[in-house]
């Protein structure tokens, strides 16, 4: 049976095929192998240590006095006793020549969100003092904190999102005369929107001129036989928020609206140079948190100048806060690695992700608090193998 030529040829093909299959066998990656790890006498490569530092070199909070003009929202109302008012200016875009009298003016805004569905009475007042959206605050530039405005409103209206997101109020006769005065060249300091219902947490968010849903005035010029309507967009607007006092030394504040930031600096000098940082987690215990939208995002930035507390443009970490959260953690592994490898450790700065956009604030326990609540920085790091081996040899030599 093994002598036929045909069989011989078939057998040859079979043998060659088998050879190729066998050579290809085992050429694909398969499962991991646990055997023989102990043959490798090199524990120096896995010397993992942990440092939990509560040694704070500096921790403090400070206010940033700057206008809120760069924010996307205009806030009107109050939240947790803190009031916000909005300022709007319509200097640009007013018609130059008028051949018909101004007969009606309406103010139009688009709402973003609200704290509650309750309606709120919003009033508009003429402003007396020139202001800038990049510098106006609750205290500045006014003679009276909270803004210099006429006692009598030029428009009033209730607003609730249940009726739609557009808020439109018609200016009264005094309001129309005010705008007519602007058209006639009289001083134009804009208007303020405020709510007098401060006992409830009624806070409304309207889109600012920095968004596609900017506020505008609708002006109607009427003659005997026709009427013209002109829209004038707001080119300058902002909101001002009642100040939030800085807390005592056992608390740290990060707040939006009336902006407060916190600076923290830990001592991590115990970590050997050239260590590899596996994880650096900054933990802060929350004492109090409030946000009209129940969601606050905080970013941690590397401080670049300890005197001015200026900081790098790229954040090291972001953490989100929401009601009920007692501990906030920031993963600053990359930043800690930079500190270990030579970048000077000037600490980190905590600030709201979007400053000037809400009335949120969080109070963290500071280093003056008890050990269970004070800030801590946990760093898990791996010692460079060469250093670990040298350390082992040193210990062996000492025996």
């Amino acid at each position: 049976m093994f002598t036929g030529k045909r069989y011989q040829n078939v057998q040859n093909v079979w043998l060659i095929g088998l050879s190729l299959i066998i050579m290809a066998g085992g050429c694909s990656e398969k499962a991991k192998n646990p055997v023989g790890f102990g043959l490798w006498d090199d524990e120096g490569h896995w010397q993992v240590h942990q440092l939990v530092s509560q040694t704070v070199l500096a921790d403090s909070s400070f206010h940033v006095s700057r206008g809120t003009g760069i924010g996307p929202y205009l806030l009107v109302g109050s939240y947790e006793g803190q009031e916000a008012r909005s300022l709007l200016s319509f200097e640009e875009g007013l018609p130059d020549t008028l051949d018909r009298p101004l007969t009606a003016v309406t103010l139009n805004l688009i709402a973003y969100s609200q704290v509650s569905d309750d309606s709120i009475l919003i009033s508009a007042y003429p402003l007396h003092t020139p202001w800038s959206d990049s510098s106006a605050t609750w205290e500045s530039p006014w003679t009276t904190a909270g803004g210099d405005y006429e006692a009598d409103p030029i428009a009033e209206g209730y607003f609730a999102t249940a009726g739609g997101l557009q808020f439109q109020i018609e200016l009264n006769t005094a309001g129309v005369e005010l705008v007519q005065g602007w058209l006639d060249g009289q001083p134009n300091y804009g208007i303020m929107l405020k709510s007098n219902e401060q006992e409830d947490d009624h806070l409304k968010y309207f889109y600012s001129e920095d968004t596609p849903y900017y506020p505008y005035l609708q002006m109607i010029f009427t003659s005997q036989d026709s009427a013209d309507t002109i829209m004038v967009d707001s080119k300058k607007d902002t909101f001002i928020a009642e100040p939030v006092p800085l807390p005592g030394e056992d608390l740290l504040l990060v707040s939006d609206g009336h902006v407060a930031r916190t600076w923290l600096q830990f001592d991590i000098s115990a970590i050997p140079e050239s260590s590899f940082i596996n994880l650096a987690m900054l933990s802060l215990s929350v004492s109090e948190f409030r946000d009209p939208l129940d969601n606050m995002s905080i970013r941690a930035y590397p401080v670049s100048d300890r005197h001015t507390l200026s900081y790098e443009t790229s954040p090291s970490a972001t953490a989100n806060l929401f009601p009920g959260r007692e501990l906030v953690e920031f993963n600053i592994t990359t930043l800690a690695q930079d500190w270990v490898t030579g970048t000077e450790n000037l600490g980190i700065l905590l600030r709201p992700y979007l400053e000037y956009s809400s009335l949120s604030q969080v109070l963290f326990y500071s280093s003056s608090a008890d050990s269970a609540h004070r800030p801590s920085l946990k760093i898990v790091y791996t010692i460079r193998p060469e250093d670990a081996l040298a350390s082992c040899r040193g210990k062996q030599g000492a025996r």
Binding site: G26, K30, N33, V35, G36, L39, I277, N278
Partner: protein, 420 residues
């Protein structure tokens, strides 16, 4: 046409028992050679390639490995020339071959066991007889192999953590051999080769939690050097022959690029001084059916240095191997099975580096082999099965039981032969 040596003209000795034995051995061999296909282990070689330069490959084709890796004195055939360049002088036909080595290893240490599989092409060779007893060869061969991967799971500060090691790569050599026979009894040869290859070594520490960054170290080593081997073989009598070779110490330049999570990339150059290696073998042939060989090969690994610094733990390795072949009849019979040569061998093979605890690692290998002629004199598929045991769990930290196959495909053509 004679393909291999020791198949001298003679009267056929038909035997049904030999045929049955050959058939059973064939099936056993082919079944074993497919081990990497039906075992489900990870891709890895010897776990002892965690040490030193990796596993040193015992050179030769499947024919030699079927006889324990012996062949230093196998005059008159192509296979022996792979380990002793002097044997090129006895070639009569142009030969081309390549050898594959699939293997499956059952490995265990004090805590775990596993099955590892791998397959590699060991060599490719072209042997040319130029007439008047002169032969040349061109070959590409693997000298060493690293294929060690292992991991260990642990925890650090309650975080699951995995330590991983991987060593891969190896050294290869492309070489040219030249040999001449004097009076059909004395053979002298020389082989010069360019040694090259890349090895990598990586270690990592991986936390399961994605918030953690994992540490890494990685070494990429590239090698270049030259190696020279001189060989000698003598037909002492009609039945006895002897062979020997020596590979003097040689240097290999190693360029290492080391990168890690801890420091910037570092480039280092060093010189690896490989030690002298020499071997001696004897072969005995009884008629046309039986042959037997014994080889002893010594490598003075204790002299291995890196930048002239002795490496701790290296020890001289003396490989001892014995083997033989039986072929019932010569190729002119119509019985295919009885034309198949059967081989048997044993090798004692110590590892050249001690464990980190100073223990020696030794290996014992039993080999079986056969050759399957493709056609009457044109080509042959040699196959060998090696059963090995290496290491010891208690003393060496681990033990591996090895099932290893060798497959060589030889093709022969009468190039450069003068017509009579």
């Amino acid at each position: 046409m004679t393909i291999h040596g020791f198949i001298a003209p003679g009267k056929a000795v038909p035997s049904a028992a030999v045929g049955r034995l050959t058939a059973v051995l064939s099936l056993l061999l082919l079944f074993s050679l497919t081990a990497p296909l039906w075992t489900a282990g990870p891709l890895a070689g010897s776990i002892f390639s965690a040490y030193g330069l990796g596993e040193m490959i015992t050179e030769g084709d499947a024919r030699l490995h079927g006889m324990g890796g012996t062949g230093l004195a196998l005059t008159g055939n192509s296979s022996g020339s792979l380990i002793n360049p002097a044997l090129l002088g006895g070639l009569k036909f142009t030969g081309v071959t390549f050898t594959s080595r699939p293997e499956a290893l059952y490995v265990r240490d004090e805590e775990n066991d596993n099955v590892l599989t791998s397959a590699r092409i060991m060599n490719f060779a072209l042997c040319l007889p130029l007439g008047r007893g002169v032969g040349v060869s061109l070959d590409l061969r693997q000298l060493s192999d690293m294929k060690f991967k292992s991991y260990q799971e642990t925890t650090f500060f309650d975080e699951p953590y995995t330590k991983m090691i991987a060593r891969t790569g190896g050294l290869s050599m492309v070489s040219i051999g030249l040999a001449e026979s004097f009076g059909n009894r004395l053979f002298v040869g020389l082989r010069g080769g360019y040694v090259f290859g890349r090895t990598t070594e990586s270690r990592s520490g991986d936390f399961e939690d994605g918030d953690f960054r994992d540490s890494r170290t990685f070494s990429d080593r590239r090698h270049a050097g030259t190696q020279l081997t001189a060989g000698l073989a003598v037909k002492i009598s009609r039945n006895f022959s002897a062979g020997a070779f020596i590979t003097p110490a040689y240097d290999v330049q190693q360029d290492e690029t080391r990168s890690s999570s801890f420091t910037k990339a570092v480039i280092e150059e060093r010189t690896l001084s490989f030690p002298v290696k020499y071997g001696f073998g004897m072969a005995y042939r009884s008629g046309s059916q039986f042959s037997g060989q014994i080889d002893v090969i010594t490598t003075r690994w204790a002299d291995f240095t890196t930048d002239d610094q002795t490496v701790p733990g290296y020890r001289d390795a003396i490989r001892l191997a014995v083997g033989g072949q039986y072929q019932a009849v010569q190729e002119n019979t119509r019985s295919y099975l009885r034309r198949i040569p059967l081989r048997l061998g044993y090798a004692y093979e110590p590892w050249y580096q001690k464990t980190s605890d100073g223990a020696s690692i030794t290996g014992h290998f039993l080999t079986l082999g056969l050759g399957l002629p493709f056609s009457r004199g044109g080509a042959v598929l040699d196959a060998a099965l090696e059963l090995g045991w290496r290491g010891n769990v208690s003393s060496a930290g681990a033990k591996e039981t090895i099932v290893r196959g060798y497959i060589s495909l030889w093709g022969f053509e009468p190039w450069f032969q003068r017509k009579k």
